[in-house]
Amino acid sequence: MAECEKITVQERLKDAAKSLGIPRLIIFGFLALLFVAALFLKLDIASLFSNVLTRLGMNGILVLAMVPTMQVGMGPNFGLPLGITCGLVAATLAIELNLVGWTAFVFALGVAIPLGGLAGYAYGLLLNKLKGEEMTVGTYFGFSIVSLMSIFWAMAPYKSPEMIWPYGGSGLRVTISLAGRYDKILDKFMSFSIGGIVIPTGLLLFFALCCFLMWVFMRTRTGIAMTVVGNNARFAESIGLNVNKNRLLGSTISGALGAVGIIIYSQSYGFLQLYQAPLFMAFFAVGSILIGGASINHALIRHVVIGTFLFQALLVTSLPVANLLVSENLSEVIRIIISNGIILYALSRKEQGGEAK
């Protein structure tokens, strides 16, 4: 009897490992190794854990923004900076109107969602004319939009002294503090700590809510239609679905999520970063979801959660370890090498076709 149970437990573990995929097991193994190293190097493990949790909630929604475009067959949304800048516009607007606390936060979200959605829709119109080239076009479109918005930030007619350059003149600062506005408003909501590990309850709950809504949406008739379009556009047409409309819907949702994502990110970070800051954010998000096991046209919520966790955990733990082992002066260089290394690995790991059953 006991033996029997043992086998089933073993089989269950095997099944779990199989559905997780070998690459993720390897990364988990590497991560465990890093933690052991961190222990030996006497790093503050509790703060490492808190850091990982915070960064999971902070980046999660930007990664979630990849799901609709991937499912609908446009590939990962390399044009994410478009949605991000929309979120930044909404966030700066909240400060300009001198809103504080929850009012500011909710206002920023309320503006960000329609603005990001609208921009995503327009972006979808462009991509519908460039089917098959979405990733390359998206990358350069993202770069262009960041540069274009840099001009906007420099010329925006904002008046709030918190945002314009301290010596006066026009244009916004590169980094705007959110202190006194909605700095860490979600992180601190119902936050508590166990054994030194701080749990950012509100942040994680919000991320979970977004994931749940997306999960439900992908199971509606519309969500299934999007999946069908992404799986096989000609099949979709043959059952009377409008491929372009579904693709537009995908990029609209992705744009809105990008805008929401940056507001969540910035409240946790405590600052709004303008100008060139959004330039490479798409790559982090794309790297995360791919490392989580998504393929270019097939992304699930669990890929988002696992991927964001792995990506951020690797970043958070490998940096201090590498700093101690190599040289403290090289921290910025190492950060770039590690983060781009993870992205490169993820892109090289992209799996074609769906998961085998």
Partner: protein, 530 residues
């Protein structure tokens, strides 16, 4: 009797255990035009690929049998070997560089060159082109074809007929060319262009070149061929001089196969059966299967077959009616006009379509069987949904329906969750049919239902179509390249030629009648022959 230049003896070719050539022999004499005829899949192209040493042959295990060239046993392993021994091939798809001039195309990789300073230092690859000499050669080759075309023109923008001639000129310019293989050369030509080509072929043959002429246009065969060989299902059927042949005889030889069963056949015409669907002047822009003005009536409750050779437009009909390709004309179903180019409306009108492109259009290969079956009905009829206006998928009813279909259609799988990619061709086809049935159609279009399916599964799929028709009362329109299959299940068979209905026959009509319609009709054939 002129000398035998090429002899194929007992050629056998297998692709993955599937015998496509079963001991074909052929003799080609100097200065002779030898026509090789047969339906699609008769083995004509495979035979030519062997003769020309195409890599596809040797990558799949080579061939058995012997080839003799001017009495010597030869092994043709690469297209280069074939060229060396003097076999020139004019392909169905033009192998020309559009941005190059006619001369450059003719002389490509065989350029006449002159030494210069650079070539003295760096070797022969740096020699410069002798354009005047090349142009003179090209001129000579074109003259031989009786073509007054300027050899300095670019190929891009030439009429297709001329491209064909440039290809032939290229082969002629190779001084060693003794055999010219023309693979359906008139398929893309207009009538007058085809006429010029045939005249040219006769002239070339007189100058001593042997021509192997692959076609299915019997009129052309009767006009120019000296000898004729007929292939059917990879087997040599007959060889005869033209004097012994007639269009009817060739047609019969081309088609003739033993019919398996025609038991299903019913004659519905006498029973006052209503016209169910009326198709008038349907034109469909489907590349390679263009429909050019079809008038066709579908009777209620029948199984209508649509046959014809590849590229004649039979595949385009269902694709056009269902809105998969841009089309024009009128389609009336039970008196009500169905707008074209609108798939949702076509589906709502009770029509369903099982596409000929099973893996490309018919299936979501990376999704489960149950989702594949349910999704068309879910999207167009809101079946399998719960949660009111939110429209959440109802996994329970999807599962139940999939299990029901798996049982009814006998889909062999590990369960409704299996990915369709992992099913065999026959079972994939059953999923496609289940998917169409879930829409509860009263008219079902099925294209190439047995393509790529093994023999056992073929029968099951065909029986299934008959069962749908008889027991579920679905009117079925089957489009197929396999005439035998249509003749075994259909009540009537329409044959499509050049995008139009050439004629409608009962399945038990004679082989001769079918053959003649397939090859473009008796009248047209006679006109060409005269």
């Amino acid at each position: 009797m002129s000398q035998c230049i090429l002899e194929l003896r007992n050629i056998v070719k297998e692709y993955f255990g599937n015998r496509v050539l079963k001991g074909v022999s052929l003799r080609l004499n100097e200065g002779e035009i030898h026509a090789l005829i047969g339906e699609n899949g008769a083995g004509k192209s495979t035979l030519m690929n062997i003769l020309f040493g195409m890599p596809v042959i040797h990558n799949t295990g080579g061939y058995e049998g012997e080839i003799f060239f001017q009495g010597n046993h030869v092994e043709i392993k690469t297209p280069h070997d074939a060229m060396e021994s003097g076999i020139g091939m004019v392909h169905q798809e033009f192998m020309l560089l559009p941005g190059f001039t006619i001369t450059e195309n003719i002389k490509l990789n065989r350029e006449t060159t002159r030494a210069n300073v650079a070539s003295q230092v760096f070797g022969p690859s740096m020699r410069s082109l002798d354009m005047p000499a090349m142009e003179a050669d090209a001129r000579a080759a074109l003259d031989r074809l009786g073509l007054s075309l300027d050899e300095t023109l670019k190929v891009a923008g030439l009429p297709v007929g001329y491209m064909q001639f440039v290809e032939i000129a290229r082969e002629l310019d190779k001084k060693t060319t003794k055999i010219l293989v023309l693979d359906e050369p008139t398929a893309v030509l207009t009538e007058s262009e085809a006429d010029t080509l045939l005249t040219t072929m006769e002239r070339l043959a007189k100058s001593g070149i042997a021509i192997l002429f692959i076609t299915h246009r019997l009129g052309e065969v009767m006009r120019v061929a000296d000898n004729i060989t007929v292939l059917r299902d990879g087997e040599w059927v007959a060889s005869m001089p033209k004097s012994e042949a007639s269009i009817e005889k060739l047609a019969e030889l081309m088609v003739g196969r033993s019919l398996e069963n025609v038991a299903h056949h019913r004659d519905l015409s006498g029973q006052g059966v209503d016209t169910f669907v009326e198709i008038r002047d349907l034109r469909v822009e489907m590349p390679g299967e263009e429909v050019r003005g079809i008038d066709l009536d579908i009777r209620k409750g029948e199984i209508l077959g649509i046959g014809g050779l590849a590229g004649q437009g039979k595949i385009g009909i269902a694709n056009g009616v269902m809105g998969h390709y841009a089309s024009s004309g009128t389609v009336r179903k039970e008196g009500k006009e169905i707008p074209l180019n609108n798939t949702p409306v076509a589906l709502a009108a009770g029509m369903a379509f099982v596409s000929e492109d099973r893996r490309g259009v018919g299936l979501l290969l990376d999704q489960s069987i149950e989702l594949n079956i349910a999704v068309p009905a879910m999207q167009s009829q809101r079946q399998f949904l719960t949660g009111g206006s939110l429209g959440l998928t109802d996994n329970k009813s999807m599962r139940a329906h999939a299990l029901d279909m798996i049982q009814k259609l006998d889909i062999r799988c590990t369960g409704p969750e299996q990915l369709t990619r992992r099913l065999s061709g026959g079972n994939q086809q059953k999923v496609c049919i289940a998917k169409a049935l879930t829409l509860h159609p009263n008219l079902l279009f099925v294209s190439e239902p047995t393509r790529g399916i093994d023999i056992g599964a073929k029968k099951i799929v065909l029986d299934l179509l008959v069962k749908l028709n008889r027991e579920w009362g679905v009117t079925v329109v089957v489009t197929s390249s396999e005439l035998a299959e249509l003749r075994s299940i259909c009540d009537r068979i329409a044959i499509i030629y050049e995008g139009k209905v050439e004629g409608i026959l009962a399945p038990d009509a004679s082989d001769r009648d079918f053959g003649v319609l397939l090859a473009g009709g008796l009248k047209a054939a006679e006109k060409e022959a005269s």
